[in-house]
């Protein structure tokens, strides 16, 4: 697929050992392959060589001066010495310089024990300092922003942090200020360092200059136990390591998987773990007695819930919701619970706007983004919903000159060039169909105009990746047909679907949908979708609901319907880690384990099934969802359906999933059923301007899961706000910072006013999944909603001084 010409192999000698590597390899990498570690500070394999620190000096025969290994490419017959006396002298010199004014506060430094300055000084450094004057001082404990603290004295100015921010994140927050030995790392404009990727800088900083607030002074590296895990905060599934000390999580750390995360994790993934130690964490089951939740034992809670569920199941009046926040094994167990234990097909993991969590064909891998020449995003807000995928997009656009086209109601905040095609919900399918038509008719007949222009871009692209959010079935079908067309014309195409939850795809593939069994097996029958279950419950037609790891009260589009359903259903049991808005309604609450407290597999958005290991023990009365479901099965006499053994379940699941990869255009994967109420229609759009169309917008630090209870994440979550177009703001007489009350079909929410041109006129872009201001009070089951906006508070008590402007 990649079009680079084959590279010649070259042979060189490093410290007497012959090494053969491809042309263009850097000496530092060649040495690594030969088993010699050349010390580096500024060099980082994911970034361009910078050649700043000069610690990597090596001797190359026939070249008089020492050369830096990090920017010297190998040559045939090159003879390199990495340990000669001259090299040792060069290294010793660089280390002496770096240590001159270094504060040597290793005993209180977080990096102590895993610090490259400590380590290289031990290996190559001078024994003692020859500095006879006092050390120079620089600022210490500089608060860089919500996540990072900087010690300028420890900083060795390798600039990995600024280069990460520039080259990888493409954000240009971090800069070097001043010059020479006065140089300081700082933010470009002195404001806070706010980036979804900030935590990575603490890892790549070779010394203890950048420390994370979450981990500062918490532990020493040698006291940490490590568990190889996978982040489940979103559907990218970045690989990470959970570091714990005496059974308590201290930090998370990247665990590079080039194909998935390329060695990075985002701050949501990195910092969401302290909620486990908050009072709001459920440490034992609760049973509602006289309207109050009372603590109960595990067995008690299981016994009561099992009995009520069985009774309802006998009448065929039970529903199961969840799966997208469980492991693959647990999602499978949940569908076993529904179909085999309770005998119902009423099971659905879809508690948001997403209908499909996978492409039915043309499946892409995350790595395919790297080679794409055109990336088209439909609706998915990748920086907020899949941050590490977004890094890949940024790289493809900024460094590999891929084109980026965003089709959606508003333009997300992206640091790379992106063409925005504004569409209103409903119109997108039509656009796709037109495109397919124009692509089909060939270059000559494409004609003029906007559709022709995009069609031309599609036709010109060598490799196309489409990313969508799985929400609009009509549009997805049209998109897939368009991709079929392009595919017919020999364009490599691929589709990625950003999951609504971390394991949405795993849940779909495990059969947590009403019409498909595990492995997308078509059942030829269907139970109720989540929306139908809520409607039935709200109408008094459902006797019991079991919800596992889902919070529809906050995330389901029609919040009012869910509220009525949860109130009215005669029996509700919820398993979760915290007392969510949904669990608050439950008759029985089961305390569920977090991912760190169990092991298993999860499936990321590209369909990659990844294993994660257990890092810590759950609290005594807390059980994994698997353990909970197995206990139900046992109590109900069907222990064969759900063995309390993740390995055994995984083997079963693997067996049924074998044939379940998305297939060819002729043989696409079957689709989960979508009910009528969940389909939006274009003509709903209210153009009267008396009311605003409500478009919920995702935000990385919002969300209805356990992260809502994490103090670190909470500190970064914005207050609820809605963005209005400047014209609309002027029309209704509000300015940035005012509070408005949005009054819609199911109630009202108060939000801060933001004003920005990214909002189309007549639209309010409202933060989704905010517990203090749930946007789902304003929406129907299809996600459509409109609301009036009334100012409830002015940003300033007194009107701002007016400034006379004369022309």
């Amino acid at each position: 697929m990649s079009k680079q010409p084959a590279r010649r192999n070259l042979t060189l000698t490093i410290d007497g050992r012959q090494v053969t590597v491809p042309e263009g390899t850097l000496v530092v990498e060649a040495a690594r392959q030969a088993g010699f570690n050349i010390p580096v500070y500024c060099y980082h394999p994911k970034m361009d060589p910078a050649g700043l620190c000069r610690i990597c000096l090596v001797e190359i025969e026939k070249i008089p001066k020492l050369q830096i290994a990090c920017n010297t490419q190998v040559a045939d017959g090159m003879v390199v010495h990495t340990m000669s006396p001259r090299v040792a002298e060069g290294r010793r010199g660089v280390l002496e310089f770096l240590l001159l004014n270094h504060p040597l506060d290793c005993p209180i430094c977080d990096k102590g024990g895993e610090c490259d300055l400590q380590d290289f000084t031990m290996s190559y450094g001078p024994g003692a300092s020859r500095l006879t004057e006092p050390k120079l001082h620089k600022p210490k404990a500089v608060d860089l922003g919500p996540t990072i603290v900087l010690d300028e004295e420890r900083c060795i100015l390798c600039r990995r942090c600024t280069r990460f921010d520039d080259e990888i994140a493409q954000e240009r927050n971090l800069v070097v200020n001043e010059r020479g030995h006065h140089s300081l790392i700082a933010t470009a404009d002195g404001s806070d360092y706010r980036s979804y990727f900030s935590g990575n800088t603490t890892e790549i900083c070779p010394v203890g200059a950048l420390t994370s607030k979450a981990y500062r002074f918490r532990s020493r590296p040698w006291d940490l136990s490590h568990a190889d895990s996978v982040c489940t905060q979103c559907s990218v599934g970045c690989n990470y390591r959970i570091d714990s000390r005496f059974g308590r999580i201290m930090r998370t750390f990247t665990r590079e998987n080039t194909a998935v995360d390329d060695g990075w994790i985002c701050d949501r993934g990195r910092y969401t773990f302290n909620y486990l130690y908050e009072p709001s964490r459920l440490r034992q089951p609760l049973i509602k007695r006289d309207g109050e939740h009372q603590p109960a034992t595990f067995d008690e809670a299981i016994a009561i819930a099992a009995e009520r569920l069985r009774t309802a199941a006998r009448k065929g009046s039970v529903g199961i919701i969840g799966g997208g926040r469980l492991s693959d094994e647990e999602a499978f167990a949940l569908q076993q619970f529904a179909r085999e234990v309770l005998g119902t097909d009423n099971i659905d993991h879809r508690v948001g706007l997403q209908k499909y969590a996978s492409p039915s064909r043309h499946e892409a891998r995350l790595e395919d983004i790297d080679d794409a020449s055109l990336i088209v995003i439909f609706g998915a807000i990748t920086p907020e919903q899949a941050p590490i995928l977004d890094l890949r997009l940024r790289r493809a656009v900024a460094r590999r000159h891929a084109k980026l086209l965003f089709v959606g109601p508003y333009k997300p905040d992206l640091p790379v060039p992106c063409r925005h095609v504004e569409y209103t919900p409903g119109a997108i399918a039509e656009l796709m169909e037109q495109l397919a038509d124009v692509v089909h008719h060939g270059r000559e007949e494409r004609g003029e105009g906007f559709v022709a222009e995009i069609a031309q871009e599609l036709a010109d692209a060598e490799r196309i990746i489409a990313v969508h959010n799985g929400r609009d079935p009509g549009a997805i079908e049209a998109l897939e047909k368009l991709m079929d067309r392009l595919h017919d014309y020999d364009h490599p195409v691929g589709i990625l679907v950003v999951g609504a939850t971390g394991n949405a795809r795993g849940a779909e593939a495990a059969g947590c949908v009403p019409n498909l069994g595990p492995g997308y097996a078509e059942l030829g029958r269907s139970g109720m979708t989540a929306a139908e279950m809520f409607a039935a419950a709200a109408d008094g037609k459902l006797d019991a609901l079991y919800i596992a790891g889902a919070n529809p009260a906050l995330t389901f589009p029609d919040g009012e319907l869910v509220r009525r359903a949860l109130q009215r259903v005669p029996f509700l049991a919820v398993a979760d880690q915290v007392l969510t808005e949904t669990a608050a309604y439950a008759d029985v609450v089961l305390a569920a384990a977090s991912f760190a407290e169990k092991s298993g597999h999860v499936t990321n958005l590209e369909g990659r099934q990844q294993a994660f290991a257990q890092a810590i023990e759950p609290p005594v009365h807390v059980g994994s969802d698997l353990r909970i479901l197995a206990a139900f099965a046992q109590t109900l006499g069907k222990e064969w359906a759900i063995p309390d053994d993740a390995d055994a379940l995984f083997a079963q699941l693997r067996h049924v999933q074998r044939a379940a990869r998305p297939r060819s255009p002729k043989d696409p994967l079957p689709r989960p059923r979508v009910d009528e109420t969940s389909l939006s229609s274009a003509d709903q759009v209210d153009a009267t301007h008396q009311r605003f169309t409500i478009i919920p917008v995702p935000r990385l630090y919002a969300g209805g899961g356990a992260s809502a209870h994490d103090p670190g994440i909470a500190a970064m979550r914005p207050a609820p706000f809605a963005t209005f177009h400047p014209d609309d703001a002027a029309r209704i007489g509000v300015v940035h910072g005012d509070m408005v009350r949005l009054q819609g079909r199911g109630g009202s929410i108060d939000v801060e006013v933001h004003v920005g041109p990214q909002a189309p006129t007549g639209v309010a872009l409202v933060l989704a999944d905010m517990p203090q201001a749930p946007v789902n009070r304003l929406l129907d089951a299809s996600g459509f909603g409109s609301a009036t906006a009334i100012k409830v508070r002015s940003v300033a008590a007194a009107p701002p001084e007016t400034i006379e402007v004369t022309a």
């Binding site: 910078a50 050649g51 620190c53 920017n71 010793r92 010199g93 660089v94 310089f97 770096l98 030995h181």
Partner: protein, 431 residues
Amino acid sequence: MARFEPVLLRGIGQLDLTDIENYKQLGGFAALEKALREMTPEAVQGEVSASNLRGRGGAGFPTGKKWSFLPKDGRPRYLVCNCDEAEPGTFKDHLLLEQAPFQIIEGLLISAYAINAAQIFMYIRGEFLEGFRIFKRALDAARLQGYLGKRILGTDFSMDIVVHRGAGAYICGEETAMLESIEGKRGEPRLKPPFPANAGLYGMPTVVNNVETVSCVPHIIERGAQWFASIGPEKCPGPKIISVSGHVVRPGNYEVPMGIPARELIEEYAGGLFPGRRLKAIQPGGGSSAAIFEEDLDTGIDFDSLAAKRTMLGSGGFVVMDDTTCMVRASQTLTRFFEHESCGQCTPCREGGQWVARMVSRLEAGEGNESDLRVLSTINDTITGTNLCPLGDSIMPFLSSVLRRFPEEFADHVREAGCPFRVGVAASMAS
């Protein structure tokens, strides 16, 4: 001895060469006419190569060869003129800018024609405000008369010059730092490779040439490579402006044939030393160069002869120090300059430079110790040759050369806990 007939400085002091008519009266723009009408770009390049012109910015790289490195891949090419002149002791480009702007413009146009450039950028040191104004006026005048802009002199050749002012950093004279600066970034040298010929300004193939270098070009075209190559040594010929400063009777810019002995420059041109003084040290190539001494006075002032003396011609800043000069004090001035001007990217330059400057300052203040002397005499090995750009390699040459030559002077500063010269000055003032 007959004085050298000036080439680059011809007419300066007699005529106002910032007036385009006066410049033309002296034969100005004839070379441009000749190049555009009678020569192909290849022929112009060939002539410059044959002249053996070597860059006057400091490194002395053969200009024709530099031009020939540009890849022929259809990308736009840029010519950048380096007028950032900030090397201590160098002030020749300043003079050319203010007194002979049209010679620069003509040289740039011919060079741009030769390398098929898309655009010329003129980078002028921020402090040269007057020179900047003069140059801008000169551009306007040249444009009015059809020497600049579309279809120059009615030929197919179109060219323009964009002027960019620096903001006061010595390092922006280094060619890749200059490119960063023009691009609006922090002025810091780039890591090489890639070299500017391949990926220069805005990533495009780029040539950076010094003001004096391009000023030579019209004369080479007009009078031929043979004539140019016959002036001075074969491998580094041509006229050369030397900025003479320090303890001489008549400091100033002198245009001499390359290879002229240092003694002749001092005595015949600069009026010799002050009466009763003895020569102590000379920096022949600006603040970055190692010193030469009395016994080196017969050395030729050219790239190769000075390199043979383990110093350099550099930018041609010729600083003369007589026996009243304290070598520690002189070293202090220079090391503090480099400490201040280091961009801070490389560890040895940033940290080592700062440390050296502190040690030398302490010695001069009478607070130095034996350990400083030991460190100073060995630190050259870890500072020099280990950096990303030549600034880091400029910190030590002068200091090392005078420390080797006058070790007792440094030791005296420790032993007497102060500067013996200052004591002398104080005593003479008291008397």
